[in-house]
């Protein structure tokens, strides 16, 4: 075989760009040629290592936006972003319907703090349904909230899902029930994620509040408002809140 041709075939094999027949030819060849087999293995490993190293970039929050001069919609977004910065909350999340959504999150932050205070210290019954029945838990809460809920995994931060419960609303203006998911780390530290159906379908940046001894990051994303509460250092809690946001927006 022509040397350049065989080299191209090896790469095309690695890149999955061969017909079935060519693929069989190459497989036959590398079965007998240890040097070629070694190169194929090395190239495949290179691709895998590139993904392992750089794929996490895909999920990172960022603030890169097109900024055409004099675009009004863009200007308001930058104003909103500036407001976020003033609050000291992280950057990188598009802010829409800032006005329309401003009332609801205050309620959710309050509800999250109250739920945290009531249920996190609970030793024997922190949850109604445990994570052993996670599928059932998620289906049940989705049904009661009337929108498909997901329980994000916080394993990357060292927290395992304990389970969840349904909560009554605290505001007569908005009587829909809420879902509370509880997470725990090996040291017994707990985090709660309150999820509430939001009628106005807005999207907000992260906001922070401290209430009843619980620190809360809250935001609205699609049909749900979320509030992550915990007794963690603010930066740590924000990191986890971002992790939740990213998982729910793959």
């Amino acid at each position: 075989m022509n040397k350049a041709l065989t080299d191209e075939l090896l790469h095309a094999y690695v890149d999955n760009a061969l017909t079935d027949e060519e693929r069989r030819e190459v497989e036959h060849w590398i079965a007998e040629d240890a040097a070629a087999a070694q190169r194929v293995r090395a190239y495949l490993e290179q691709n895998a290592a590139l993904h392992a190293l750089f794929d996490p970039v895909l999920a990172e929050p960022h603030s890169l936006r097109v900024r055409p001069p004099g675009n009004a919609a863009n200007a308001s977004r930058w104003l909103a972003l500036a407001a976020t910065l003033v609050l000291g909350v992280g950057i990188g999340f598009t802010v829409r319907s800032w006005q329309g959504a401003s009332r609801a999150p205050v309620t959710i932050a309050r509800e999250a703090a109250l739920a945290y205070v009531a249920y996190v210290p609970e030793v024997r019954h922190p949850v109604e349904v445990t994570s052993a029945e996670e599928k059932h838990l998620v289906a049940w809460l989705s049904k009661r909230l009337d929108a498909p809920l997901r329980a994000p995994s916080l394993a990357g931060f060292g927290y395992q899902l304990l389970g969840g419960r349904l909560l009554p609303a605290t505001s007569p203006d908005d009587p829909a029930p809420l879902a509370l998911l509880m997470y725990e780390n090996p040291q017994g530290k707990r985090l709660s994620l309150l999820v509430k159906r939001e009628a106005n379908n807005a999207e907000t940046s992260f906001r922070f509040s401290e209430d009843q001894g619980a620190r809360v990051f809250y935001w609205i994303d699609g049909p749900f408002g979320y509030a992550l509460a915990g007794d963690l250092e603010r930066g740590e809690l924000q990191k986890i809140a971002r992790g939740v946001y990213q998982q729910l927006n793959p």
Partner: protein
């Protein structure tokens, strides 16, 4: 008038950032490159042919911005000072993995830009050879020869540095 808005461009940002990070090996340089690419793509939006792949076109724009940046002799960014954090490997990655991946990052910067671009477009961004040829504006044969030389060189670089990664991670900090 182009058939896309800022939202369509911004949807490509995560992919552009990943490629830029691998290309420059540095978080800030990569985000600057991505930001410049966004501005350039927006200002040149009428040049995009509706019906063609917008993502591939954005990578073409990034390629041009990158090459122009190198030509205008901006200080070249090297991976020498890149920590595991800068390459994105920090969160959720063990120190040990960080070391191994750090070597890959460093080895990448030792490749000539033209080989690094092809290797990343094909191996990381999973463009076909024909698409990579469009993005870079070179014939498919050139893509193949750069890919072949790049992969082989990377293999040799990694094999040469392989002994270091077998040491316990705590004896060797990723710089």
């Amino acid at each position: 008038m182009a058939a896309f808005g800022t939202a369509e461009l911004e949807a490509v940002v995560p992919r552009l950032r990943r490629y830029a990070r691998a290309l420059t090996g540095n978080r800030e340089a990569a985000d600057d490159l991505t930001q410049d690419t966004l501005e350039r793509a927006w200002s040149k939006r009428t040049l995009w042919q509706p019906g063609t792949n917008l993502r591939a076109w954005m990578f073409t724009v990034m390629h041009n911005v990158f090459i122009n940046g190198i030509r205008s002799a901006r200080p070249t960014v090297s991976l020498e000072d890149v920590s595991a954090d800068d390459t994105g490997a920090a969160s959720g990655t063990s120190v040990e993995t960080g070391v191994v991946l750090g070597e890959l990052g460093r080895a990448l910067t030792l490749l000539p830009e033209e080989q690094r671009e092809v290797l990343l477009l094909v191996g990381l961004e999973q463009f076909s050879y024909a698409e990579a040829s469009d993005v870079l504006g070179v014939p498919v044969g050139t893509v193949m020869s750069r890919l072949s030389r790049g992969r082989e060189r990377l293999r040799i670089l990694l094999e040469a540095g392989g002994t270091a990664s077998e040491r316990p991670a705590n004896l060797r900090r990723v710089k």
